[in-house]
């Protein structure tokens, strides 16, 4: 547990604080929805309610992360967001296909949802059309995936943020700045075992110290790709949930987990870890946790 010498940026994203020195704010969780199959809105509503309850109990914020796989899902998912997510609460949209990203941005704008939107994500694969759409329909915040296909180490991740690793004309941070996105969250791009999977965790403090920006990742994806764990079905879920612990322990600000139903387990786990970090960083570095921090809420 440590503190950074670089001044740390904290963003308020539609009422949720993210970033800062370890121990100051609770770790923010992004809970994934609709990654597989047809979107099941009843199921999603139930899981969001549960995560809200756990969040209120512990102080660990949970932001729903909506995966939109097909064009025909855009309209129903955005309608669901309007109905099921409390007004002013942020959410993220998680889309791979650039054309779906563009159409979703247009619809988010027409529904006046952009001030609550965290765009997941900006990366080296951004098309010219997506870039133009983002300039026209600029979301409140964006996650920047620091994936560098040439170098998967923390240095490689910094390179792609800094100068685009000679794959882009500019670095991803400058790209986001040029678009006009003011709140950028760095994703350290977790990779499968055998592809320097540990680098996503090692990069958390390196990038925080370099830029002072809120930083996190979807480390549970590494568990998904650890095929050997299929021989340990009982342990696999525990490992999946526990993997998120590494993020606050290494100074990270947010964890993207999934599916959202795991919130029942992940939220208390992160609250526990946040308390551990906070106790040390306040005693040693004098970092006081905010009133909403799990340490304030749970240790009376």
């Amino acid at each position: 547990m440590f503190s950074f010498t670089k001044e740390q940026t904290t963003y308020d994203i539609s009422g949720i604080s993210i970033g800062g020195q370890p121990g100051m704010y609770p770790t923010v969780l992004f809970g994934g929805l609709f990654f597989k199959g047809e979107p099941d809105f009843e199921d999603a509503k139930r899981h969001i309610q549960t995560s809200d309850e756990r969040s209120k109990q512990t102080g660990v914020p949970v932001i729903p992360d909506f995966f939109i796989r097909k064009v025909e899902y855009i309209e129903p998912i955005l309608s669901f967001i309007e109905k099921a997510i409390p007004k002013k609460h942020p959410f993220s949209i998680d889309i791979i296909e650039p054309s779906i990203k563009i159409q979703t941005l247009e619809q988010l704008a027409s529904r006046k949802l952009l001030p609550r939107t965290i765009y997941n994500s900006i990366h080296i694969g951004m098309t010219k059309e997506e870039n133009e759409a983002l300039r026209t329909y600029t979301p409140e915040a964006a996650i920047i995936v620091a994936f560098n296909p040439k170098d998967k180490s923390p240095d490689g991740k910094i390179e792609v943020l800094e100068n685009g690793a000679h794959l882009l004309e500019t670095g991803l941070l400058e790209l986001a700045h040029q678009i006009g996105i003011e709140k950028t969250l760095i994703d350290t791009a977790a990779l499968a075992p055998g592809e320097n999977s540990g680098a996503a965790i090692a990069a958390l403090p390196v990038i925080k110290e370099e830029y002072g920006l809120p930083t996190g990742c979807a480390i549970h994806n590494v568990v998904e790709k650890s095929r050997w764990l299929n021989d340990f079905p009982f342990a696999k879920k525990t490992v999946d949930v526990a993997s998120n612990n590494a993020i606050p322990l290494f100074g990270g600000d947010y964890a993207i987990f999934g599916p959202m139903e795991n919130a029942e387990l992940v939220v208390p786990l992160i609250a526990w870890q946040d308390i551990l970090v906070s106790e040390y960083t306040e005693n040693y570095f004098g970092i006081s946790p905010v009133a909403s921090h799990p340490r304030r809420k749970l240790l009376k």
């Binding site: 080296i124 694969g125 390179e159 800094e162």
Partner: protein, 299 residues
């Protein structure tokens, strides 16, 4: 005896990288594959009819291509030296092995190394504070890479463009650190205006000297002043100009070289790597170079 020149490239070839594909691999949690880019470069060079080809150096600019995989180097805006420079893993070997598999039998493969002095001068040194020591550690690392390449390539080419701006007094020893006793022919490519360092170049411990005679035709006159029995690779099409030289123009240019170097003209090539040219232009230049080579060889 009939003249015989080989056609060659220097190193890089312009292939555009589809970053969306690279991200799709990432999202699909698949390992990044670079083979399609190597294949495109190799396809163009062989389809053009070039006999000595490279892997196209498509992964990175020629500095980062090496410093990315050497101990002691850290990539930021430039390469930063933060520890002792050492070879710890094959750098270009896997791509060369893959490239070799793509080649017809009569096509030769060049293992291209970025020279130690160019690597030194392109880095920000926060560790050695001794340029010579850094250069020799780069050379030692490149020697290890060269040894690993021997099994897979037909020629080792060292690319030292910085020599044309600044030739250290230890340049010969530096190059020898890499080339001494290698079982494959070696080539030293120094682009730019080398007219001021020709006496030193002709003594370099390599088998072939390679220079940009097309952009700097006055080099012919300067070389005439020095007795030079070295084998030569004659830069015959420009790498910094999108105008495609005609076959006749290339033949005339190389005949000038033959008048000076005679049978020592063993290769004709672009003046430098072609990375900065549009792909169609780079390809057409290689094609014309290959046709000129056939004419010069009496074909």
């Amino acid at each position: 005896m009939k003249q015989h020149v080989h056609t060659s490239v220097i190193g890089s070839y312009p292939i555009s990288i589809t970053t969306q594909d690279l991200m799709n691999d990432y999202f699909a949690e698949q390992q990044t594959s670079w083979t399609q880019y190597i294949e495109q470069a190799v396809h163009d060079m062989t389809a053009a009819g070039i006999t000595y080809i490279s892997d196209g150096q498509t992964r990175d600019p020629f500095i980062q291509l090496f410093t990315r995989k050497l101990n002691g180097c850290r990539i930021r805006q430039r390469t930063e030296i933060i520890g002792r420079v050492e070879h710890h893993t094959p750098i270009t070997v896997p791509d060369q092995i893959y490239t070799k598999r793509l080649l017809p039998r009569h096509v030769m493969l060049i293992g291209v190394l970025t020279g130690p002095y160019t690597l030194t001068k392109s880095s920000v040194d926060s560790f050695y504070h001794d340029e010579k020591q850094l250069a020799f550690d780069f050379a030692a690392a490149l020697r290890k890479e060269a040894e690993l390449l021997l099994k897979h390539v037909d020629l080792i080419s060292i690319d030292e463009p910085v020599f044309s701006n600044e030739l250290p007094e230890y340049a010969n020893e530096l190059i020898q650190t890499i080339t001494k006793g290698l079982s494959r022919p070696t080539r030293l490519h120094v682009c730019g205006d080398v007219s001021g360092i020709i006496p030193q170049l002709v003594d370099m411990p390599v088998d072939i000297l390679s220079h940009e005679f097309k952009a700097s035709p006055h080099l012919f006159n300067v070389f005439q002043e020095y007795p030079c029995n070295r084998n030569m690779c004659i830069g015959s099409v420009r790498s910094d100009d999108a105008v495609v030289e005609s076959v006749e123009d290339i033949v005339t240019h190389v005949n000038k070289a033959i008048a000076i170097f005679d049978k020592n003209v063993v290769q004709i090539a672009p003046d430098c790597g072609q990375r900065l040219l549009p792909r169609t232009i780079a390809f057409q230049k290689l094609k014309n170079l290959a046709v000129a080579g056939e004419i010069l060889n009496g074909g």
